[in-house]
Symmetry: D2
Subunit: 343 residues, 4 copies
């Protein structure tokens, strides 16, 4: 077994309650390719959240959920507006360009688009030499752990729709934002006008599996073919859908978000007692971003693994997960203090 | 729980011994994206079969394994020779063309290429108007449940290499061929000269997960990027690799092949007692192909689901799985006799 | 200067009357990218033929005209039905798959689709594993020089539209069919229901340049972006549009078709006097297909270049052009008789 | 005939000496698809400039030359480093992403890369989540009319090759740089180590046609197929190659560059006499960039068309061409003075 740490919420395994539902699905024969009874049940659960007209498609991973959402909304000559910090732009090995179209990276603050700048990206709209922007992708929570407020989402969505642009929500850790904003999927996304959503599972306690939720009917039409052609149609779909059944049962999804957010707040709080460490982002989900003295990072990572987010500033990312514990947090603080003493 | 039947080997769940290994992997933190200890162990097992220089990459499903193999070997202007009956040509919603390149469908007998015709597809080689054939994809066992002999594989591979063509093995049910030919992966694929292999898991008892095995060093170089860009890099890879550990432990992979082949032989044998039914393909893996009187198909499918393979001839496919039972076979024969009596 | 012959109608240069119009366009400044006055005039001429709602886009070559038409009508997961003999399938180096989607090659007779077989390609329509056929591409005249009758076009188009399929006309030598059928573009294509047309220039006397004519409004919307992204937006467009002005002026387009068809008929007629030579296709445009004794082909090609169309049967293609002459035909017959005498 | 102006060098027609050579090519039959005698002659001329091992391919337009160069050097998961101002990034409607791969836009000064920043784009090289940078594209002269010095090209090329990165030269107006630097293609590009070059024709007096010059043997291998599949193989190639014969004959290429540069210098000089106008870029090729008072732009463009380059600052681009005249320059200055008087 490897070292515990704060590397990523995908270093954790499967949450026992999610696993339990998955095991319940492992009996007898079921039709394949999404037509099984577990998938039907899981989709109904999603419709309770997102309304009866929502279309739901299970796919394997977060890259797939995101690039298939883009592919659903973009023709090949069209572009998606993203932030310069976004996962789509920085960490997907050009998968968006492969599956969908061009990305236009916009400058961001705390990982968020700046509403007042958006219009400037549309200056040459209609010019045949310029790839038209047809989608904007918001990461919620952002790569830096911050959350758009409902009002911010509404304003961006209004701007987008006024300009004939679809709104994608990249929600690898979407429930963390739900929990932080003390709201519902209905209020945060349906009422604000989001068109298509990547709702993450793997980083929230599933072993694998994400859901694409489509609210705008224009984006539904071809999605089953898009998923299949993109090699993302799971044959034994029941083993994804049953995990989501576990994730949503007894409000587990909110409990996981609460758990990891509380630990993040605790970690951030305790780090503020160490003056050499500087918290850089508001703690609005399950991560803490902090500049840590360069000399401390090496020895610290040997005890608790984490990533240096910005190689220039030594801003580090500490990610809390469903299986992170108060002991992990206390141990980390202890370790950092020990290193400080010895330095 | 849905009806038992002979629809597909992906209608079955996860084999208990495979599940057991997967559950053993569900402890603590592990690095993500293929760098976990379970993946390292599983890759060593593959190397015991395919030699120490084999590269192994886990992906989510069979479509992905196949199209990523093609992408590894083909530039976008190049083509892959497939049989007209192949899954790549018939059942992948143009995924090969999306991920890799053009398919050239060749006529086939019993699902197999005809060696003596292959050369005719190279007539215009070098002509800039013609997409060069750079790969040939053999399905083993074929879509019709037949197996290439080792000698046939060797001859096709020799022909391919003489013509600067890579050999891909589409092995969604590869171990069934291994069992039928009473051979080893080493003899069937390494010594015959295969370049890149899709080794199936999902249809053989895994919940999800396939392996790409790369033998030819020329095809290894970019595969990690190809997998990532194709949205097939699993974050919690341990839940695929551990399943393969279960699949190979105590020769389970061979036992599953033996089990499903024996039941297929039994089913075919018992069907020959019904003169109206005509077995159409040699039973060389875990499927039986048979022409069943049209009027019987409807009522029969209500008791045991299966697919009509050829809508013109009413050739049907009956697929046996790791969880198929002698009772299933007996029940099917009984059902068909009952329908015959009543007709 | 190279040898005269019957290799292809693109071995000829620019017709003097077409060149003359092109030279007239070479004065002063004109806006670029299709907004010049010559392009506006040329488009009006096309609208006289195809109706006032036709959209017209000039592109550089025939490959481009065809694959852009496919791209206009196909989403990436969709397919185009073509004949097995079609240029799209045989001679475009997988450009259709690169720009648009999968090709489904249908068996053909005399280069034409067989209407009664078309329905069989739609068997699995709606199945997510199968790339939906969304376009059918008719070559008029076909690769074998034959012409669909207006009634055949109407029937195929009706079938297509009943099945929600667009009709593309690959018309690299379209006017030859117009002339053969003694009809108009309006009757042959607009009234029969064609959706999008590649209207060839280069093989009919232009130096370069083809026109895409879009009749179905659904296919117009994005075409300017598709053309630009596909690297087919000509900057000095006037040098294509002015050539088409020359092509249509004083019925030159029909005169060229008449000239080359008459010579083809003469050549076919004279070849029938040589019993060893067998005409294989009806002469319905500007080509003659004939099986020529194998031993004669080498020496004959040294005097008059032409292509062996079928390497198995030694069916040869003799192509007549705007600049072919009765002397060319007579010389060819003479040459063949001389070779016969000496053999 | 449209208004004369400074909109673009592609608003001009064909230079008479270039046209003359093109007309000389319009006799008799020539083999098609690049195998004609004119193309052979033209390629020899290029080899006199670029060395005997240079491969030369004619294509239709500048977009094509650029994206085919990128496609030659990039696998689909790889990226090309470009400046944020580059034509590839700003004006190609996502054609680079369609044909080749992802673009990484780097900040620039006067349209040029900043050498000291290049290394920062390679930080995560080797990480499978990051698309590897495999090519850098230098525009020479840049979009802002400035020229890299030979020393700058050498340093960038050295950096690139040390990092296993190919160097592409986007040279839509390449000879203008040659003339400004008083150098040769050999010294500016071959000796500095450029790998592949787009050498423009259309903006320098041709009616259409560009050349791709490949110096690095690794990039040559598949180019004929890449060109064909990209719909850029001209059938009557002689009408491009003969134009290049005219372009290079009697040093016409240098004379055109000299002519347009001198006029640009004259225009810039005369504009400095108008204090309200501010020249923004060094005049190192055939364009002048200047901030013109907003109120003047409308009336001025009615007399002499030009583009506003930067809608925020009202920096305008005035482009000189082979057919620009001293009268055009004088007329423009007169017009601006008149507008000033009346304002």
């Amino acid at each position: 077994m490897a070292l515990r740490g704060f590397g990523s919420d995908n270093h954790s395994g499967i949450h026992p309650d999610i696993l339990s539902e998955m095991l319940s699905a492992n009996h007898g024969h079921e039709p394949s390719y999404g037509t099984d009874s577990f998938s039907e049940t899981a989709i109904e659960i999603f419709r309770n959240f997102f309304g009866p007209k929502a279309d739901v498609y299970f796919v394997y991973n977060g890259t797939a959920a995101n690039v298939l959402c883009l592919r659903a909304g973009l023709k090949r000559h069209e572009s998606c507006l993203v932030t310069d910090q976004s996962h789509l732009n920085m960490d997907e090995c050009a998968a968006p360009e492969f599956f969908a179209g061009k990305l236009i990276p916009a400058t961001s603050i705390n990982g968020k688009f700046q509403l007042e700048q958006l219009q400037s990206y549309l200056i040459r709209k209609g010019d045949q030499h310029v790839s038209p922007i047809k989608m904007i992708s918001l990461t919620q929570p952002t790569e830096l752990g911050t959350c758009y407020t409902i009002e911010e989402i509404r304003k961006i969505t209004e701007w987008a729709h006024q300009n004939n642009i679809y709104v994608h929500i990249d929600g690898a850790r979407l429930t963390n934002a739900l929990h932080f904003l003390k709201t519902t999927y209905q209020k945060m996304l349906v009422e604000t006008g989001a068109d298509i959503i990547s709702l993450g599972g793997t980083k929230n306690g599933l072993g694998f599996g994400e859901a694409v939720v489509i609210l705008n009917p224009e984006l539904k039409k071809d999605f089953k073919f898009i998923r299949k052609q993109s090699a993302q149609l799971p044959s034994k779909t029941r083993f994804i859908s049953s995990q989501f059944m576990g994730y949503f049962k007894n409000d587990l999804y909110l409990k996981i978000a609460e758990h990891s957010h509380q630990l993040a707040l605790k970690l951030a709080h305790d780090l503020t007692t160490i003056p050499e460490v500087q918290i850089t982002q508001p703690v609005e989900s399950n991560s803490v971003f902090a500049i840590i003295p360069k000399a401390w990072i090496g020895p610290l990572r040997k005890k608790y693994f984490f990533y240096v987010w910005n190689e220039a500033t030594f801003e580090c990312r500490l990610m809390l997960s469903w299986d992170s514990t108060p002991q992990d947090v206390a141990g980390f603080i202890e370790a950092i203090q020990e290193i400080k003493l010895n330095s």
